[in-house]
């Protein structure tokens, strides 16, 4: 305990109830579970630990107002996405008859066949995952508390502790140790987080050029990482910066129902997410006509 930063210690001593206690309980429980797992002694005496757990997570989702970005999606983005992504020359692929073996080229994944365009199949944001891994938790699991509270502050949801699945000896990581935490945001909270990100945080990340043009995992998800310095840009952290002894970087994954990278990027750009542009060299003009920006535009997109 001596290694714990002063503010963390204060955090323990001052908060007799509240989420911090729940967090530390969660961490403690996780480690006891890990210990049980590793020692292999499954005694029933430890089971009454779980009855003491403070369960603080709200069980139900409450809709306490209309979400600005959701309204924007419903009224503007959806219409525009329909116009932009509608495939007017869609032809369904021939179905592979039963019993025919499909030879794969290399080890590429089989992609699902593109579906017919429909107003019901407009890409939509489904959930946002916020996840952080803290190396400092290797030395003491209580170092995770700072990141835990930070993620909770910025998302407004109780994070879930992530335990390592495997042990890696050179990193002094043992299987089952708490190593990170994550939050899955859905519904209004998701749109609130998105709003905060694009309106407050991303514009203040000075050196960040925007998401790359190649962003996306080809199945409609886009992920991005944030450095530890970005955490202090969130208004919740900014006003309480001293209370967080360790800043941590974190990952944010946007899960959408888009089926291609293009659709996913269009959707996110509809929410004002900045995308960087690859600087292409101007095409050599055939005629003597000077290359105006519009003609470059046409060439590049052709």
């Amino acid at each position: 305990m001596a290694a714990i930063a002063p503010s963390t210690r204060m955090l323990f001593s001052h908060s007799l109830r509240g989420s911090v206690v729940a967090a530390s309980q969660q961490i403690r429980l996780a480690s006891t579970a890990a210990a049980k797992k590793t020692s292999g002694s499954k005694t029933s005496s430890n089971n009454n630990d779980s009855t003491d757990t403070v369960i603080l997570e709200a069980k139900e989702e409450y809709t306490t107002g209309i979400s600005r970005l959701r309204e924007h999606y419903n009224h503007t983005v959806q219409d525009d996405l329909m116009v932009l992504t509608y495939n007017h020359t869609f032809k369904p692929k021939a179905k592979i008859p039963e019993g025919v073996r499909v030879e794969l080229k290399g080890n590429k994944h089989i992609k699902p066949a593109p579906k017919a365009p429909s107003p019901r199949r407009i890409p939509e944001l489904v959930k946002i995952d916020v996840h952080c891994m803290m190396k400092e938790a290797l030395t003491s699991k209580f170092n995770l508390l700072s990141g835990f509270m930070a993620i909770q502050s910025i998302t407004g949801e109780m994070p879930e502790i992530i335990n390592s699945k495997k042990g890696v000896h050179p990193w002094k990581l043992r299987a089952g140790n708490p190593i990170g935490c994550k939050v899955t945001l859905k519904g209004d909270k998701m749109y609130q987080f998105m709003d905060k990100l694009v309106e407050v945080v991303l514009p203040r990340m000075k050196e960040w050029p925007g998401l790359p043009e190649s962003a996306g995992d080809a199945t409609g998800n886009i992920g991005m990482g944030f450095p530890p310095s970005a955490l202090s840009l969130f208004p919740e952290i900014e006003h309480n910066f001293d209370m967080f002894p360790r800043m941590t970087g974190f990952h944010v994954t946007f899960n959408t129902t888009a089926s291609t990278n293009l659709e996913a990027r269009l959707l996110l750009s509809g929410f004002n997410m900045p995308f960087q542009q690859k600087i292409r060299s101007a095409p050599v003009p055939k005629a003597a006509a000077p290359a105006t920006p519009s003609s470059i535009d046409a060439k590049a997109s052709a």
């Binding site: 209309i66 309106e199 750009s269």
Partner: protein, 341 residues
């Protein structure tokens, strides 16, 4: 699509700067697919006119590779003159009004959420003895006092309220500090949801009906079908988007920052010319009707300038208001591509 992204990047610097604007604006600005929303110019008419005189706004109209070939000949296919129309819309700038039922429902849900929420670790978020902590306790006490009737008030809650009230009592001696902090804090003023243009019913203003999508319609100097979307004939060697952009430039002036949503039309409208009407026989011979293709566009800044030649008036109207302006058959043809919100 890549044109959006490209545009996005061009505007990235703008959106970075835009944070200052969005903080000042109390009315939440809507976002757009092109990373911007329509913004009213800081000084209305004079600045806009000056800007128009200096340099017209650009839009994302891309030219075809054969754009170098300029032809004034009209495009006629199967006896129909091909015409490009532009559905220029201003997106909603504020969220819609709530119905009384919705207000009640959201309030109820809010109370439920508070009841079941995790206890707030005030010791963590506020420094002990700080003004912020005291103010928070005071607010909490007021809230609990006002909501004591809601749900089943548990004894622990009321004791909490008392404790908070007791905490706020001993704050008399530091009032000067509190005043100092309050003075430093920015005062938030809420802007009215109805604007000056709403009160005057100024349909030419872009700052009316903030919660609705507005569409641009223009009036031509004629008796029949005077009001309609800005439109004009497509020339040979020109695509629909170019034609729509050119017509907007000709009819409404270059003082509009537009973004065309794709290059595909969102709807079409057929009509045959009345008997005895020969539209510019030298440019379009043999046409006995027209086929209008509507291109969708968003406006981000600027305003229409009436030249009194091609158009004599214009209006920014909602879908429902448009019914009073345009001909019934025209409304029937276009109503399905317009937003109800």
């Amino acid at each position: 699509m890549s044109s959006i992204l490209r545009r996005q990047m061009l505007r990235a610097a703008g959106s970075m700067r835009g944070i200052a604007r969005s903080q000042i604006q109390v009315v939440p600005a809507r976002l757009s697919l092109a990373a911007r929303s329509y913004t009213s110019a800081t000084s209305p008419a004079s600045a806009a006119a000056a800007a128009a005189a200096e340099a017209p706004f650009k839009s994302n109209i891309s030219t075809t590779s054969s754009a170098g070939v300029s032809s004034t000949k009209d495009l006629i296919i199967n006896g129909n003159r091909i015409v490009a129309g532009a559905v220029v819309s201003r997106q909603p700038l504020i969220v819609r009004d709530l119905t009384p039922f919705e207000q009640e429902y959201f309030l109820y849900q809010k109370n439920l959420e508070r009841e079941s929420a995790a206890p707030f670790g005030a010791e963590f978020y506020f420094k002990k003895g700080s003004v912020a902590e005291r103010r928070w306790k005071q607010q909490e006490a007021e809230r609990l006092a006002s909501q004591s009737t809601f749900g089943s008030s548990s004894p622990s809650k009321s004791s909490k309220a008392e404790a908070a009230a007791a905490g706020s009592e001993g704050a008399e001696d530091e009032i000067s500090e509190e005043d100092r902090v309050a003075a430093m804090e920015a005062k938030i003023e809420f802007v009215d949801r109805t604007t000056e243009a709403d009160r005057k019913n100024d349909v030419r203003s872009l700052e009316r009906a903030l919660a609705r999508t507005l569409y641009l319609i223009v009036k031509k100097p004629r008796e029949q079908h005077a009001w309609q979307f800005p439109q004009g004939g497509v020339r040979v060697c020109e695509n629909l988007q170019e034609a729509a952009g050119r017509e907007l430039q000709e009819e409404c002036g270059g003082n509009m920052d537009l973004w065309f949503v794709g290059r595909v039309p969102i709807g079409h409208y057929n009509y045959s010319f009345p008997k005895g009407f020969a539209p510019k026989t030298e440019t379009s011979p043999g046409a006995n009707g027209a086929k209008v293709f509507f291109m969708k566009a968003h406006i981000f800044a600027g305003q229409v300038q009436v030249d009194n030649k091609e158009i004599v008036d214009f209006a920014w109207v909602t879908k429902q208001e448009m019914k009073d302006y345009v001909a019934p058959e025209y409304y029937e043809a276009v109503k399905d591509m317009l937003s109800d919100f």
